[in-house]
Structures are given as C-alpha cells and as structure tokens.
Symmetry: C2
C-alpha cells in the first residue's frame, strides 16, 4: 500500500530520496525547491526515480503564462497542480499540458481559505475534467463532499503532519493519497520516519474501515 506523496520544498539528497522510493506513491515539488536548486537541479534529483512527479505550482494565471511555465517543466513532470478558481475561458480551458495530468485545487488547508467558493470551484472542475483533485486533510467534511461529487477522480490531500491532520485521516474521509513533507524530510532519519508514519496510517485505515463496516 503506497498512499504517501512526499512534498519536497527544501533540498534533499538524491540518496535519501532513492531510499524512500519504495514507500512512496509520488513526489510533489513546488516553487521553493525550483528556486533553491534550479530547473537542472530538480531534473537531476528526479531523473530515474520510479515515482510519479507532481509539480505543485498552484498555477493561477492566464493561459499564455501557464503554458510558458508548463513548456519549461514538462520534460520532468507527470502532473501539474492548478487553482480551479482561476476559471475556464482564457485560462484552464486553454491550458496545454501536452499529455501531463492536471490536478485542480478545490479547497486549501489553511484557516483563511473561503469554503463558500466550493460550488463554483466544483463547477469549474466538472467543466475542465482534470485527472485529479486537491482537498485538505484538515477539512474532512470537504473531502467527503469532493469524493461524493467526483467518485472516480484521484483525490490527493495535503495538511497532514505539520499542519495538524493525522496520517490516515484524509483517506478515511475519501482521499486516495496523503501529502506529507516537513514531518518526513525534516526528520533526522527520514526513511525510518516514513516507515513509522506508514504504520500509523495503516492502523488508522484498519480502524476506519472497521468503523465503516460496523452495522449501525
């Protein structure tokens, strides 16, 4: 069971990443890492890894700008994350991902996110029809809603660890994968930490599966 996506915001050694490979479903990289080690550095770090590479750029601009960004990063990317709030015409509707997957943000993990946007963001996601959706582990009721509205989409969920949710919480609510970063890579022994978190998650999933199977 590989349900953890490693979010890498700060430089990490390739050796450590390769050691973790078997325990991960994907890696997610964003602007902070690109700024730290450059496009070439990211390319070197990710080349040869047998993991899906998700570029979490929170794209939220006009089509021309987003397409220039995708063009530069597509050689090393399997998927891109964009904000659904940016809308369809002149933006997401003419985003050219050249075969890469799209994940749309439907909700965020921080307290200041305005959840009343949800019906509109859902409408955008229905129209754009991306491969996946992003919804936060810190808002289980939102994950349940997203799962109900998009039963066949891949749902990935940030906010586990440093931001407060427990491993397994988001999957118990309907997500497919949980995104963790600092809790793992800032640890002195990231490989052991990943194993420990995976065990915690499995226990939690066993519990919630049992809870679901229980007659009411």
């Amino acid at each position: 069971m590989r349900r953890i996506i490693l979010s890498i915001d700060e430089p990490i050694s390739k050796e450590k990443l390769v050691e973790m490979e078997d325990g991960l479903a994907a890696v997610k990289v964003g602007w902070p890492l690109i700024l730290s080690i450059g496009v070439d550095g990211v390319n070197k770090l990710l080349t040869g890894l047998g993991l899906k590479k998700i570029f979490d750029l929170k794209l939220a601009d006009i089509d021309n700008t987003m397409n220039l960004i995708v063009e530069k990063l597509k050689p090393m990317a399997d998927a891109f994350i964009a904000h659904s709030f940016i809308g369809v015409r002149g933006s997401l509707g003419s985003l050219n991902l050249q075969g890469r997957e799209l994940y749309l943000v439907l909700s965020m993990s921080h307290p200041g996110w305005n959840e009343s946007f949800y019906p509109y963001l859902r409408e955008v996601a229905m129209e754009v029809n991306p491969e996946g959706l992003v919804a936060p582990a810190t808002r289980p009721s939102v994950i349940r809603k997203v799962r109900e509205d998009f039963p066949t989409k891949v749902v990935i969920s940030p906010g586990v660890g440093a931001q407060g949710a427990e491993p397994g919480d988001a999957i118990c609510s309907g997500a497919d994968y949980e995104i963790m970063g600092r809790a793992i890579y800032l640890s002195e022994r990231p490989v052991e930490k990943l194993r420990e978190i995976t065990k915690k998650m499995e226990d939690r999933l066993y519990e919630c599966k049992r809870a679901k199977d229980r007659p009411r």
Copy 2:
C-alpha cells in the same frame, strides 16, 4: 510621465532593457522568465536598473510556501504580486515580505475570471492593506470600482496590447500604471515601439482628461 510597466516573460537583452529604462515606470517579471534564465540570470538582468522590480508570481499558497519563495527572491525584488482570493489567516496575513511591497490581484483580464468574487476579494484587500492592487485594462468598470473603493492605493493594470485594451484605457478608468509585455518586447524595435505606445497613451489621456473636464 512614466506610466508603463514592462512585463518580461521571455529572455530579453540587458542592453535593450537599459535603452528602454527612461521610458518605463517599472519592470514586472514572472515564473516563465525565472524558469528560462534562472534566478541568477534574472538577478544579472535586473541589477543596476533604476526601475522598480515587481515579481508577478501570482502567489496563492499557504504562508510557509509563499515565505520560502519570497526568501529566495527578495534580494532582487521591490514588490510581489499575490492573489487575494487565497485569504488572510494562514496565508496573506502571515506573509513576511521583509520590507518589499505587496500588490494584490482583485480581478484578472481573461474572460473566464469570475467577477462575482469581487466583494470578497475587496474585503481581503481591506484587511491585508497592501501597497497596490491589480485590476485588468480589459474591464474598465472594475478599475473604476477599485479606484472608488481604494482611492489612495496604487493600481496597476495588465491586459493592454496583446490582450485587447488600448494604451491609456486603464489609466482613463482610474489605474496608475499599465502593464505591457509582448506588444513591446516582441517588436523588432522595442525602444521605438515603447515610444510609439507612450505617445498613443498620452494622446488618449489628453482626450479622456478633456472628456472629464467637459461640463455635463
């Protein structure tokens, strides 16, 4: 009168940029340029220019991620552009710009932008109290609304040229500066093009000033 902000999305020679310096109010750089020439390349391009440097990153993430981005780029930046829709708590409210200016996006130039967000985005901008605001030349009624709601803020306006608005339109509606990119830097003679656009803008401003002064 320097009312034009040059948006640089693609590599441009420093020589050409220095030639244009006197005709510009500021330069705006974004992710496509950073990906093309790297952080060092952008630094070299901008160092020594006597112009305000606005980093248009459309920041739209949790505070920790945005702060990592600002940390890397602050040595060469005077201002950063962020999306107001991302909200205050855990995001814009704890964005640490270390003395740089903040410009918040209140509306965008593409047709798919949902203008019904405006009252909420205005509320966010009132709370965050940035130095400036971004509103599109393609929506003059929005610029008028922004100017009315924020009489003392600097309003910068994209969407002129390639996206359809005419030079001077946004300033006539209440903006302070107009952002142009491709219309200038894709021209064979960018310096002449800038001069020509500035002249067009001055004519338009003279006309609209006259229109405003006319007794009704």
